[in-house]
Amino acid sequence: DTAVSQTPKYLVTQMGNDKSIKCEQNLGHDTMYWYKQDSKKFLKIMFSYNNKELIINETVPNRFSPKSPDKAHLNLHINSLELGDSAVYFCASSQVRGKLFFGSGTQLSVL
């Protein structure tokens, strides 16, 4: 069983569209995250949730809206996609400081 699963793995879409990425963890962790990895492989946190409560919102455009229906799920919705949103988006969960379990990433390409 995959510990942190995110779908889809690849997402190709046109500028201006709205898209969602889903994430689920079966580890029973309280904290979940979204990280963005740019084309230079630099990883930066976007959001973190703890037990469905938004804890970290790292100066992300408000076109990005995370939603956590329960502590096992953290979805990311992106409105009005722009070329600069092209990146790999990683979901992760954690129960111990800094020990994150990552999903396999969603490669988003905006054309």
């Binding site: 230079k40 492989k41 946190i45 800094g98």
Partner: protein, 118 residues
């Protein structure tokens, strides 16, 4: 704000050799955590090793060990008897200790691409 710097964009060694990846960081905190994460071609990030700043003893995990120099703010990763499966991007990361565990975030370095050659 904390920063993490990995000065080696790429490294390449032969199988079975030992390789050391460098990492320096900048912080005014006294209590924090340091990590090495590995990202193989499969793309999934995997924790390699974790060090708590208050512990003087360097962390080890099988063939992986660190050299933690708190005064110099240096945290290097040594991989002994390197294997083909060690080929990956390696990221150094920092996390403040902070009073609220859930409010802390990982700050990553730029990564080092390590290739193990047969």
């Amino acid at each position: 704000a904390q920063t993490v710097t990995q000065s080696q964009p790429e490294m390449s060694v032969q199988e079975a050799e030992t390789v050391t990846l460098s990492c320096t960081y900048d912080t005014s905190e006294n209590n924090y955590y340091l990590f090495w994460y590995k990202q193989p071609p499969s793309r999934q990030m995997i924790l390699v090793i974790r060090q708590e700043a208050y512990k003087q003893q360097n962390a080890t995990e099988n063939r992986f060990s660190v050299n933690f120099q708190k005064a110099a703010k240096s945290f290097s990763l040594k991989i002994s008897d390197s294997q083909l499966g060690d080929t990956a991007m390696y990221f150094c990361a920092f996390m403040k200790h902070g009073p609220v565990a859930r409010a802390q975030k990982l700050v990553f370095g730029q990564g080092t691409r390590l290739t193990i050659n047969p």
